[in-house]
């Protein structure tokens, strides 16, 4: 119990350090981006010389990286991640509006991919069927060769939901890994001995194989979330789904660095948190 709480504590500390480091990188990127500190209001003929000077002074205060990061961090603690240069709205509002859509698509997509990959790989092991194994390998081999953006276009054409496209992109990677994992587990000497003693296939799989593979399965769960978030960008962009993937793409096209760096930081933290959760579960006694 003490070891588990220590592990959780260490993971939380790592997550906090990562957030601080990631925040610093975000702030540095924004601060040193070309065009930083250039304000369109400076060329507005309606503003007086004093007003223009005041705008310049405000920008000058923000030019020191450490001070800029300090203010960014202070704002982030209070839920203020700055303002989108392109949409002229607070980044936190934009993320709040769109995060739910992406989270739903990603979770449903990952769930669907897991159901198919797990079911197919387990069935090919369970039934020892060459046809099932071959067709699964062929199908996943074809899907893995498709660029994510092409999957998105086909999804639009078929009028399928966004989560289906995420599932199609995630499935082949999961299937290949799970199939190899289960096949490797079946070759373990004690499982071979259990089979030699006539223990049923179902009992071997559910009692031994899955138990042996559980830590790797938890780790894979974290990785599949990261894969799905990565796939969300082209899929949401091309399927016109108003999630954070589409927002990131539009931010990149409009060179809106405050927005895209914060989105990257958010997705990284989610990925690291899910990986850490999977690792904590992996280290905990089953």
């Amino acid at each position: 119990m003490k070891t588990l709480s220590k592990t959780i504590g260490l993971r939380l500390l790592r997550l906090t350090l990562l957030a601080l480091l990631g925040g610093f990188l975000c702030a540095t990127l924004v601060r040193f981006a070309p065009g930083y500190g250039v304000d369109e209001r400076e060329v507005d003929p309606r503003l007086s010389h004093e007003s223009v000077q005041q705008i310049r002074n405000e920008n000058r205060i923000n030019s020191n990286l450490i001070a800029y990061y300090g203010r960014y961090l202070d704002g982030a603690v209070h839920g203020d991640f700055g303002k989108s240069q392109w949409l002229q709205q607070p980044v936190s509002t934009l993320i709040k509006e769109r995060f739910g859509i992406t989270a739903r698509s990603v979770l449903l997509g990952v769930f669907l991919a897991w159901v198919f990959a797990f079911g197919l790989s387990l069935a090919s092991i369970f039934f020892q069927s060459f046809a099932l194994d071959f067709s699964g390998t062929l199908f996943s081999g074809f899907l893995i060769a498709l660029p994510t953006a092409v999957v998105a276009i086909v999804t639009v054409y078929l009028r399928a939901p966004v989560f289906a496209a995420i599932a199609v992109v995630t499935f082949p990677k999961l299937f290949r890994y799970l199939r190899n994992l289960f096949a490797h587990a079946l070759e373990q000497p004690y499982i071979l001995a259990a089979r030699a003693r006539g223990i049923g296939t179902a009992r071997i799989i559910f009692g031994h194989v899955l138990r042996l593979c559980a830590p790797a399965l938890f780790a894979l769960l974290g990785i599949s979330l990261s894969l799905a978030f990565g796939a969300a960008i082209p899929i949401e962009a091309l399927c016109d789904s108003p999630g954070i993937g589409q927002l990131a793409w539009q931010a990149a096209l409009n060179r809106d660095l405050p927005l895209i760096t914060n989105l990257t930081l958010l997705v990284t933290l989610i990925t690291v948190a899910s990986n850490s959760l999977a690792n904590v579960k992996q280290e905990a006694p089953l």
Binding site: I144, A231, T261, L263, T271
Partner: protein
């Protein structure tokens, strides 16, 4: 000859053929990839245009061959950059251990946690959208190479760590072998298969990443063709249904990526 070996040989032959044809494109294609036939936009396949023309009247076959050249030569270049970074830092961390190992592994973990496409978009957003096509190619593949090293590093590090504990390295050290000689004479030859496998694994990943980036308008810029920006033609699905030969770039991408995977699977089975 086993079926696996046969598949591997067939895949290698296909890759060599695709590489060869794209390399010799300028020898037997009379047009440039940017030449426009304004009198024949969206033309069907003919003797002059084997795959027809695009909406701007450019020969699709020529663009496909030049696009193949761009994608097939620069993806390995990006893979080489990624493998070199992974090889140098992974071997260093594995052989010397201690705090450099902790820092390098932490950097790799952090890099692996970053969703590649989000980071690529962020870094690409730092560059102007109207950069020259040549610069867009260099930036796209350089970014892929500089960001895609983390998973390879983990593998190289694990192999180097095993080598550090091996008897032959212990013996080399005991007989007074210098660090430089140990690295070049004993470590590198033993890491070569791992580095080669990682290089090979990275190529299809980078081909697909470039395709997706270019389809989103953030990769290789027009008029220079790459598989990614040729695939943008697929967005017009009714036109693709009417002219199925426009699927040729998709066929080329899938064929090459499947061939790379076949070779990798055959290598895994052989190992």
């Amino acid at each position: 000859m086993s079926a696996v070996k046969l598949l591997r040989l067939a895949s290698i032959a296909i890759l060599i053929a695709v590489f060869g044809v794209s390399l010799l494109a300028s020898q037997f294609i009379p047009y440039s990839y940017a030449t426009q036939f304004r009198e024949a936009p969206n033309a069907s396949p003919s003797a002059n245009h084997p795959l027809g023309t695009d909406p701007l009247g450019r020969d699709l076959f020529t663009r496909l061959l030049y696009g193949t050249r761009v994608s097939l030569f620069l993806a390995p270049a990006a893979a080489l950059v990624a493998t070199l970074i992974a090889g140098i830092f992974g071997a260093f961390a594995g052989l010397y251990g201690g705090w450099p190992q902790r820092i390098i592994l932490a950097a790799a973990d952090l890099s692996m946690a970053l969703p590649l496409l989000f980071v690529l978009l962020t870094l690409r957003a730092l560059l102007p959208l109207d950069i020259s096509p040549a610069l867009s190619i260099s930036c796209t593949f350089l970014l892929l190479g500089l960001l895609g090293w983390a998973s390879s590093l983990r593998v190289v590090w694990a192999s180097a760590r095993n080598l550090r504990e091996s008897d032959f390295l212990l013996m080399a050290r005991a007989t007074g072998c210098s660090s430089t000689r140990t690295v070049f004479k004993h470590v590198l030859p033993n890491l070569r298969p791992v580095l080669f496998a990682q290089f090979w694994i990275s190529i299809p990943v980078f081909i697909l990443a470039e395709a997706t980036l270019s389809m989103l308008g953030l990769g290789v810029m027009e008029p220079l063709p790459s598989w990614g920006n040729l695939l943008r033609g697929l967005e017009d699905l009714p036109a693709v249904s009417a002219n199925p030969w426009r699927l040729a770039p998709l066929f080329a991408v899938c064929l090459v990526v499947i061939c790379f995977h076949m070779i990798l699977s055959a290598q895994e089975d052989a190992a």
